[in-house]
Chain length 312, copies 2
């Protein structure tokens, strides 16, 4: 039984991780500033003796005693991270420094939730961890991309300098229940649009690709990585690749309804393709995705249907 | 007459900038933690009514009143920035955030001393500002490269969010008097080795290239950029490109002496070539280098000859 801190634990991914670790019997502490996270995502644990929820911002120092840190706090969807680029960078630089400082003082192991965005608009396909990436350092997405690259660099600097045990997960697009309704990411947008008979908005021509993983697979991967001996970056994603156009049709087919599919203006620096090479995760973590993407989509449709029912 | 802050003003480049701005009659304040800088570099101004030297670390907040900030504080040579990668990253992230916070409060214009290292090991040659770069986010140089990329991203984030006036200079290899003797950079190493009849140490085969600029050109470029209206990144460098092998012979020829040229182990992730495209600087700043590289080398040899004489 370990004392585990989850930063950003009231968010989409973090709250599923809380569920898994609580069920395993650990003592779980969540730190969240509720920028995009919600108490609702973890309310079923409030009052449990092994659970604690701290309302705090990781840009400020945090002094508690822990054995492991899952460091997930960061805005994650493009509209959220572009909303306040200064805050996105502060969270990923100062916030990460604080969590590394905490890990150093407690001699705790820390896992950084990094992202496939460190590969930018990739020139190699699929992306291996050894690929250095193709990122615009001053574009509108750079607050997130460069913030996460700096966070990775900080992890390896603390490892070298202070002998901190670090783990780095490069997470590819993930979806599932508890995604925020107004999150702006493609899966939630398309499902909500289809459920509400509104137009399904494809940004650009829709030829860009993404590889989508269901959230339970990600959470299994994160826990496997944390408890493995491998300390270089590992891709965690589902290699099942779709064009955004195909994905829109698949969702529309499953939801039914009268939505039309429309094209909106393309987004600046939108990566044209994204697909993880997961050989390292298979080799070192014995992990691979188990949920078929469309099974996950069906579950997520059900979740949003319920959410809409409650909000009306 | 302006109130000008120079962070890292006791260092090599900073101290030449101090000279130029003091001669123009400005009020100049230097902030330096003396990590690689030395009081000696600015001692000729100590006591002058327009000059102030603050011994402080920019990782801590700084509250003074200023009109312009030249933000140069950062270790700059590979051995120095790899000596403590955590500190290098803190200086470039937290330190830059503090200076942007200061700029925001004072409504001051801020110029970031960025670097050609943001291009990493470039796949296009020469490098234009529009090139996104090829940088290893977790390699031994990443504390500096990613630190500076994050610093650039921070500048544009503060510009967007807070309307700060920013200027970004991407500086290519610069040399001249007041380079630190133990700085470890190629120009000081080779000259000192030649002056002392020690072996001239080429890392790897010496086929890698660099483009070297004399420090007075850089300082002119920085001042021109600060006072221009152009707020995207601008390369400041001399396109005169040498292989390290050629450069070693040129220096040996000029110094004379009995040094042999030897090859040592190649350095990890050492960029294979580097040459600025300076069209933007010519167009927007009406700037271009004026000092011939070998004239600069001669002056630098004289400087180090004097330094050695004094230290013996
Ligand atoms: N979901 C994905 O597809 C995906 C892909 C790649 C990487 N990631 C990474 O996974 C992590 C979690 O993403 P998510 O999808 O759950 O997003 P999310 O927005 O649902 O969760 C992020 C959580 O962090 C909290 N937070 C943000 N800034 C904070 C701060 N300064 N202090 C304290 N808490 C703060 C938010 O309130 C929220 O609860 C993020 O680091 C994200 O970058 C996610
Ligand atoms: N000289 C070059 O070839 C070159 C090339 C590209 C970029 N640059 C950039 O130009 C700037 C100046 O470089 P330089 O060659 O004069 O190096 P330098 O090492 O001589 O000067 C850096 C100065 O910053 C000070 N400093 C470092 N960390 C600090 C901190 N945390 N707080 C306060 N002061 C701090 C040092 O003491 C030193 O005086 C650096 O930002 C560097 O990255 C230089
Ligand atoms: O338990 C801790 C220990 C440190 N820190 C923060 O982590 C940062 C980085 O820690 P580090 O040990 O590198 O910094 P130092 O204390 O040496 O400045 C510090 O600024 C602290 O604010 C924290 O939040 N909790
Ligand atoms: O309503 C939407 C939202 C997103 N996208 C596209 O879907 C892809 C994935 O976007 P998302 O924001 O989910 O994540 P990203 O991978 O870009 O971070 C990108 O190409 C977006 O331009 C879209 O076409 N319509
Ligand atoms: O005159 C100033 C104003 C701000 N700061 C620092 O700059 C940082 C960033 O400033 P910003 O205004 O973005 O931050 P805030 O004060 O809103 O947290 C702050 O944390 C301060 O430590 C500073 O050093 N000098
Ligand atoms: O004693 C030395 C110092 C540097 N170099 C090489 O010279 C080039 C420039 O190195 P420097 O450290 O001056 O600057 P960089 O451009 O790499 O930041 C690099 O290829 C180094 O490997 C060398 O061959 N011998």
């Amino acid at each position: 039984r370990k004392r585990i801190l989850i930063t950003g634990g009231a968010g989409f991914v973090g709250s599923h991780l809380v569920d898994k670790l609580m069920k395993q019997g650990h003592e779980v502490t969540v730190v969240d500033n509720f920028f995009t996270g919600r108490k609702k995502n973890v309310e079923h644990w409030i009052g449990h003796e092994n659970f604690e929820l701290i309302h705090a911002d990781i840009v400020n120092p945090l002094f508690i005693e822990v054995d492991q840190i899952y460091h997930l706090a960061s805005p994650a969807s493009p509209p959220n991270y572009m909303y306040n680029p200064v805050k996105t960078l502060k969270t990923n630089t100062i916030g990460t420094i604080n969590m590394l400082g905490l890990a150093k003082r407690c001699r705790a192991r820390i896992l950084l939730a990094s992202t496939s965005e460190v590969y930018g608009d990739p020139e190699v396909h699929p992306q291996k961890e050894s690929y250095w990436g193709h990122v615009n350092p001053i574009g509108p997405r750079s607050c997130y991309d460069e913030g996460k690259r700096a966070a990775e660099s900080l992890c390896y600097a603390y490892k070298k300098q202070e002998n901190i045990e670090i783990r780095v997960a490069r997470i590819f697009n993930t979806f599932g229940p508890r995604m925020h309704m107004n999150d702006g990411r493609v899966v939630s947008n398309f499902i909500l649009q289809a459920l509400q008979d509104s137009p399904i908005t494809i940004y650009g021509k829709g030829d860009q690709t993404r590889s989508f993983q269901y959230v339970s697979d990600l959470v299994d991967g994160l826990v496997a990585l944390m408890n493995s001996d491998y300390d270089l970056p590992v891709n965690i994603g589902n290699p099942d690749e779709y064009t955004i156009k195909e994905f829109a049709s698949e969702i529309l087919k499953r939801v039914g309804g009268k939505s039309e599919i429309i094209n909106k203006e393309a987004v600046t620096d939108d990566p044209s393709r994204r697909k993880p090479d997961i050989s390292l995760a298979k080799l070192h973590l014995h992990w691979q995705p188990r949920v078929k993407v469309m099974d996950g989509v069906n579950k997520t449709i059900e979740y949003f249907r319920e959410e809409l029912r409650h909000s009306n």
